[in-house]
């Protein structure tokens, strides 16, 4: 830990995250390993990282990809060729509560997608 040599008495107190910890997305963490592939949501992560690189690391430009990744972690979205059901690696939260309210409204204006 870095030592802050300042004159104030304030200290940095880390706070736990609001919604808890992400379990690691790895093979050993799932209950039914025979059905699951290691790093299930890494395709979505790659898409997100690719988007960031293209946008010059503008977080706002890649919110759709971030949303897709989190949906994967909540076991809501299946990449082609994958089987659902073993990636509930994050508690299901309504997307509005995760700051994606505007993206949901956009989506409902298009044709409904098959989930």
């Amino acid at each position: 830990m870095s030592t802050a040599m300042n004159f104030s008495n304030k200290s940095f107190t880390p706070r736990p995250p609001d919604k808890g910890a992400f379990p690691l997305d790895h093979f050993g963490a799932v209950a039914r390993p025979s059905l699951c592939v290691a790093g299930e949501c890494s395709a979505f992560k790659e898409r997100f990282m690719e988007c960031l690189r293209h946008s010059g690391y503008e977080s706002a430009a890649c919110r759709q990809s971030a949303k897709a990744y989190l949906e994967c972690r909540m076991d809501r979205r299946v990449a082609p060729g994958q089987r659902p059901g073993c990636r509930q690696l994050m508690a299901n939260e309504p997307l509005e509560k995760l700051g994606f309210k505007d993206l949901i409204n956009e989506k409902s204006e298009e044709k409904p997608e098959k989930s």
């Binding site: 200290s11 995250p17 992400f22 990744y69």
Partner: protein
């Protein structure tokens, strides 16, 4: 990153040894005064995480900067906030003390 907007970031951790390691991480934010505006919605920290030998995993952090940040005159010159994590090996029975100055 825009204050008030949720954002996703990834860190990568690797266990370079040939034994499984159980780690626990804590974080730090610089500049110090920006830390109060940093809100984590979900991350990999504070809980033990097991890494198998040679395993490399992605560690996501989902966060937002409190919009009050934009109103704070002390933050006017701050355009870079750095979030760093340190991983410690968890020892049985050891409760990791939260860093701070008493």
């Amino acid at each position: 990153v825009v204050p008030g907007e949720t954002a996703l970031a990834f860190y990568k951790a690797k266990n370079p040894t040939d034994k499984p390691i159980i780690g626990i991480s804590t974080y730090n934010v610089v500049p110090f005064e920006a830390g109060q505006y940093f809100n984590k919605i979900q991350c990999f920290c504070f809980e033990e995480q097991r890494l198998n030998p040679q395993e490399e995993v992605d560690m996501p952090v989902f966060f937002y900067i409190d919009p009050e940040f934009a109103e704070d005159p002390k933050m006017a010159k701050v355009d870079l906030i750095t979030l760093s994590y340190t991983f410690f090996e968890a020892k049985e029975g050891l409760k990791l003390p939260l860093p701070g100055y008493k």
